[in-house]
């Protein structure tokens, strides 16, 4: 993966596949670290599964017995001296409060830290592919206002107009880009 925004896209696809109705993508930057938290209310995983998810030879895919999504995220984080933590509550053991949380911490001043890249494109791609699920995106940085998008808010305005309409996707792209341009911080 050339940029972290691609890892974020890849990991969030797991949340959608787990049947999440809301997936939160929360980026929090300090002067030294970038924390990426992907939190969903999908079906969750059993403890046994959680222990295996960063093993590349564990996968839910049916086309081949290798799954590299979380292993690649872990590699990207660990090579900056950071970490990946996965916690999950399976729907069988937590029927009212299930879901998965993946948290990756990057030391973004480390020379091996990939750029965050085009995170706006990641968000529009997710909405284009999954217009009926909800996403909350928030990018908080040490200076300037947070960049934020909540599809639930857009849906109350749009009513029955689908979120994957081209005009809506373009609006979302512009809405996020303007928030990034409007603040003093440059995207890392």
């Amino acid at each position: 993966m050339k940029e972290l925004s691609l890892n974020i896209l890849d990991i969030t696809e797991n949340s959608v596949k787990a049947g999440a109705s809301l997936t939160q993508i929360l980026l929090t930057e300090t002067e030294d670290t970038l924390t990426v938290a992907i939190i969903d209310d999908g079906c969750g995983m059993t403890e046994e599964t959680v222990q295996q998810v960063t093993n590349p030879f564990y996968t839910t895919r049916t086309t081949r017995p290798v799954g590299l999504g979380l292993p690649l995220l872990r590699l990207a984080a660990e090579q900056t001296g950071g970490t990946v933590t996965v916690t999950s509550r399976h729907k069988d053991s937590h029927p009212d409060d299930h879901g998965t949380c993946v948290t990756a911490v990057f030391h973004h001043r480390h020379i091996d830290c990939p750029p965050l890249g085009d995170v706006v494109s990641t968000i529009t791609t997710l909405i284009q592919g999954h217009p009926d699920t909800e996403f909350l995106f928030r990018h908080t940085r040490p200076h300037g206002e947070a960049v934020e998008l909540d599809t639930r808010q857009l849906r109350t305005v749009l009513e029955d107009v689908p979120l994957d309409s081209f005009e809506v996707l373009q609006w979302i792209q512009g809405f996020l880009n303007e928030q990034y341009e409007g603040s003093d911080d440059t995207v890392t």
Partner: protein, 123 residues
Amino acid sequence: MKSLAELQAIKEKMQGKVTLREGTDEKRVVVGMATCGIAAGARPVLNAFVEQVNAQGLAANITVTQTGCIGICQYEPVVEVFEAGKEKVTYVKMTADKVARVVEEHLKGGKPVAEYTIGNAKV
């Protein structure tokens, strides 16, 4: 500044069009967006299809969707084009630059771009 008022205007403009779009899919463009596809560069390919299909006014007849791993990871980014009554066309090692020709010649013109298909791929 983009505002929710602007989104409201989009909604009002779009509301009449929504029903028109349903059930008229002549062609379906499917982009593989699993880890293998994403790592190989599927995101800009998908976005190029979405943009160009809409820019050319083809959205009423052509849908662009995403799928998981198609199973031929070494050929990613992989794009499949489905059309009722015709054999599926599989494009391999796609790039955003190749999308314009596929849109023009295949989606608009009805003639697959043989050069980009799996049949012509060098391993």
